[in-house]
Symmetry: C2
Subunit: 361 residues, 2 copies
């Protein structure tokens, strides 16, 4: 039996399928690469843990040189803080968590950096900070064309900065950007205008943060940026291949899944469906790439089944085959699992809990 | 403060947002309705617990008259068995679980009914049953036009029945159908042919199972059917409204979510994204219905954000508003949460763990 066949047998006998499996050698190479890209650009690396949701992997990123971590949810930050990680940016408006007692409770233990794009969130942060008896560091989220969260003009951002400056429970910590791949010039204009405006408020940036794995292509272009937050690059996926950031060999996570049915000549069924890989297409054709049968197409999901169109396959899988699927979007796929099986050199090395999975708040 | 406003405040202060909330009065009404529909048709009710994944809710269904439950994953069956539920059909090919030791381990404790559509799965079941030292009841999954799992002809089904008959570790338990809404006539033809063929093998059905909430419209039509398995009807969702099975008032689950950003006149952002509601559209326009703003459209998701198109709203939500979203597909949304907040009469009554969520195997 070859090494891969032996690994497949070991995975199904120990865990069953479907089973998300990561290759630790690839993970380590990916972590090192992100760090090198940040180092070369002279910005700090603050990986986004939404992709892996694991303190074990976050600590590997910090050991490789990351300044701290980025979270998207308070619950993620709680899990990371419980594991001893203290330099945490939460890169989203935390209004729905701030109004519960949980933001105050965590802020009492760990000085967080949160972000906002409106006065209502600032007001909720101020109340949470008072409850925590510790001022909150607040970054202003700025939008330069993506039409996601973030204020759209330096004027609005400065108005928020002034509210922060005038509130004893809030500290101005900087700006958070998530530029589109082609919007770095207008991001520079935004930042330069802000820098000037902040001076007039006697404020200074501590952090100017950019984000996104595809934006490694632009890293260093924004003059004044101090750190970058990227998540997907630790594992990569079909979207990152499409973005030309990664090759197949850079994809560290594969979902091992069994062919459980071959209802017809041209069709087959995997035991991984939308509750394993999610319906997130990432804008791509099909719901994942099957390593053993790249010409097969996962064209539809039921909750626990992936439906295969095998019409373009000369070599068709048979019932009982275990195949490896690279997800379109790895961040949402990891979030479906309680644990990742980690392999090294073709052998199962450890089981890594996805400790912060399913943190809605 | 009105009752609804008070509930929203209680939810956000106790749990934060986003938060899936179920109304127990509606849940009970939905459970009773499914039972009545089965009773009136003279078939047993075997609800599919994939929708709620909670032993507490499964026991409410059994108390209302259900014969037993249906699971889609071995892990779900483990959780239900741990809670004392023993009459369990697992309505899927369990190959990927059978080849791990878990099927044998559970079968040793509880006599399961599993299903198969191919000889490889039968062989894995036989091995698991031997390991468990207890024969497995096996149903044959039959496809009558959906092109999902299942054998497509009575001839294939009979071949499997013969294998089961001739294997001392397998018991023939019946047939599992999931007919399309318009394929009940051919399902009857399939079943009648099978019944005749089984007689020649000296086999009899114990269970003839049909499935699906929309198929309540056809319940009783298949002569010989003994039980029905439906999942979604306990909560209902936008898909069930679209199918004309449910009204808005029958939708028991709403995701409470905060408006966290209003980046422009025509747009807004919810703190519920694809990691809360999932990217599953269920074939519908938009990713959920906002009760307070039905003319708003959730047109896109980031992982933790829902993007609103407010161009058709006269009355636009403001930052800090808590709104209630009816998911397109409630089964996948519940699977994202660790718990459901249960209310009765407008007040928080209890917290129900989604005990079997994230059971990949």
């Amino acid at each position: 039996m070859g090494e891969l066949a032996a690994l497949k047998t070991a995975v199904i006998e120990s865990f069953g399928t479907p089973c998300p499996v990561i290759d630790l050698d690839v993970v380590e190479r990916n972590i090192a690469r992100a760090q090198q890209l940040c180092d070369a650009a002279g910005v700090a690396n603050r990986p986004h843990i939404k992709t892996h949701k694991s303190p074990i992997l976050a600590k590997m990123q910090i050991a490789a040189g990351a300044r701290g971590i980025t979270c998207q949810k308070l619950g993620e930050a709680e899990v990371m803080a419980n594991a001893g990680i203290t330099d945490i940016v939460i890169a989203t408006n935390l209004l729905g968590a701030a109004r519960s007692g949980r933001l105050a409770a965590l802020q009492r233990r760990v000085a967080l950096k949160v972000c906002a794009d409106n006065p209502v969130s600032l007001s909720a942060y101020s109340e949470a900070a008072q409850r925590a008896e510790r001022p909150l560091d607040v970054m202003i989220e700025c939008d330069t064309g993506q039409k996601r969260a973030g204020v759209e003009t330096p004027r609005e951002a400065l108005a928020l900065a002034q509210i922060i400056r005038d509130n004893p429970w809030l500290n101005f910590a900087g700006l958070l950007f998530y530029p589109a791949l082609d919007s770095w010039p207008q991001t520079q204009v935004f930042l330069d205008e802000m820098t000037a405006g902040l001076a007039s408020l006697s404020l200074k940036h501590k952090i100017i943060s950019t984000g996104g794995t595809p934006n490694f292509a632009n890293i260093g272009k924004l003059k004044g940026a101090t750190e970058h937050r990227a998540g997907t690059c630790i594992f990569n996926d079909r979207m990152m291949i499409e973005e030309k950031f990664a090759t197949l060999g850079d994809c560290a996570l594969q979902v091992f899944t069994s062919v459980v049915s071959r209802g017809g000549e041209e069709r087959g069924i995997l035991d991984a469906g939308s509750k394993t890989l999610t319906s997130d297409t990432g804008g791509l054709e099909g719901f994942g790439l099957i390593m053993e049968h790249p010409e097969a197409r996962i064209h539809k999901f039921a909750e626990e089944h992936g439906f295969l169109d095998l019409s373009r396959c000369n070599n068709k899988p048979v019932v009982g085959d275990i195949v490896r699927v690279i997800p379109n979007h790895v961040c949402v796929a990891v979030n479906m699992a309680d644990q990742l099986v980690a392999v090294r050199g073709g052998e199962i090395a450890e089981v890594i809990p996805v400790a912060a999975r399913g943190m809605l708040v």
